[in-house]
Symmetry: C2
Subunit: 357 residues, 2 copies
Amino acid sequence: MVENPIRFGVMGCAEIARKLARAIDFAPNAVLYAIASRSIEKARNFAATNGLHEAVKIYGSYDELLDDPCVDAVYMPLPTRLHVHWAVLVARKKKHLLLEKPTALDVAELDRILQACELNGVQFMDGSMWLHHPRTTKMKELLSNFGQLNFIHSQSTTSATPEFFQSNIRVQPDLDALGALGDLAWYCIGAILWAKDYQLPTAVTALPDVIRNSAGVILSCTASLQWDQLDRAVGTMHCSFLSHTSMDLAISASKGSLHVKDFIIPYQEHSASLDFTLGAKFVNLHIGWNVQPEELHVASQLPQEALMVQELARLVEGIRKSKSRPDVKWPETSRKTQLVLDAVKKSIDLGYRPVNL
Amino acid sequence: MVENPIRFGVMGCAEIARKLARAIDFAPNAVLYAIASRSIEKARNFAATNGLHEAVKIYGSYDELLDDPCVDAVYMPLPTRLHVHWAVLVARKKKHLLLEKPTALDVAELDRILQACELNGVQFMDGSMWLHHPRTTKMKELLSNFGQLNFIHSQSTTSATPEFFQSNIRVQPDLDALGALGDLAWYCIGAILWAKDYQLPTAVTALPDVIRNSAGVILSCTASLQWDQLDRAVGTMHCSFLSHTSMDLAISASKGSLHVKDFIIPYQEHSASLDFTLGAKFVNLHIGWNVQPEELHVASQLPQEALMVQELARLVEGIRKSKSRPDVKWPETSRKTQLVLDAVKKSIDLGYRPVNL
């Protein structure tokens, strides 16, 4: 543990907050300082069931957390509809913000959050933890030798339980109105943009396979992202609460191909693998290949969520020490992801017409 | 070798004919009886360089091959534009037909071929060799436990050489006018239809990423296949002569997922693998999965092309012995594949509008 670690407050006791509380504990430059829920009982229960240290402050309201001057940064796993209200308040209280995805219901809301963060000189980052895994860095390194990226497919599916469809916030229009698009496609869209170095597509088109629940929330959808005539790359993404668990990322480039089947949450926490092929040709008579995919294992000392927390804390430390401006990379990647997500939604609403960006 | 094996004539000395000549040799119920080219020199050269048995008859014209009453079945790897002319003649000569894909330039042409085959009581089969691999049977067996198939992605890409772009028949409008769509997407469309038990999609939509050569032949394209509102499945397919070699098939169903990275030509000839996952869940805290994909290896005594030849010979033997009608399964699967391929082309020609089937 470093001297003066960044003190995190967790705002909301959602299931995912358990993972992040653990991650904050693991990050060497961060400490879990406080948790808050709308009721003190819920917060106390969260602290007890997750074995939080006695020193962790427990608040029965979000306002109390925000009024605590010792809280440096806030992790916010609230339902999406509440993001803009509370995230703007976090920024106004000069606290740095780790915001769970999807960042907002649309880019206009996100812009209000980002503007508040900029105005108050606080760092913004969304909860795309997989971007912080060393495997992701390794993939980018490999892709730099792949030539032109022509086709990217990404999907995230999970076969939700009947209880999920009854009561989970992700299928309730007044909480997470974007459904599977906000929850799962955030990663898929993020992965395609990441592969393309965050160059925005010129057009986004949803496919007419959308499935909604009775309240109109998207349970499953597919979309394509197209880049302009110069490089003419295409990405397809599919997200669904109705299929068996999958987290695929497949990239085809002029000189190589890459496959990962667990890109969002690796099968195991401390090691993740990827498959890639370079220089593949068919052998004489085309009765086989000259190479088979190479499997690379990438170890991770810390869970990817802890690496994410560590990165945010590092940036906060930099801002604190040198009075520098917050890093713009993270808010920019979030904004582009939200822009494309909005475009998918718009394409669906327009009857699957292409939406230009 | 069985008594009275089916005697194959190979019509055309294309590169792929080398693989099929070898496959006919391997198939226990077939024999390579004759080869024909438009010139006797070319045919002799083919026989010599491929070490064909001295007994194999060598013809300097296709007509001579067709006039030989000892030829039971013809394998035809001619450029697609020539299929309808020669395939109809093959059928009229009462010879069974193994036709290289794409079967025709459009379904109207294919229907002329299929009608000729039906009228003359000869068996038709296209050259989709991967359908005959025991791995394919194993995949179908697994899929029967997967519940509803929701999403299927299939792609076939190969990074063609400058010579290919200069002179290969697959990029010449007067020979294989369908380009990558005819050559590579035949397999991808076929795989998606195969997964859906040949239930035709209700609509097909091409994505606006088509790349053509200066003569207008498709070098790369992507399309989606949608099924109706009852099961609302979707398939995406991508084919390209501009990306590194890939042959992916990925299936997401309600209870399982399946991945194959070499579905058309296995990495090795005598064993092929597949990955599948059933019952995947995240472990507590969502920091990993309860299972990892299971890898299955499926051995194949004979190359898949030999199994294809064996299957055709078996059907021909049945027709010969019991005077039964030809099997309708193979012409039907070919026709459905061609129908969807036509729809992709039509969607491209209509500016990427959905085409209903």
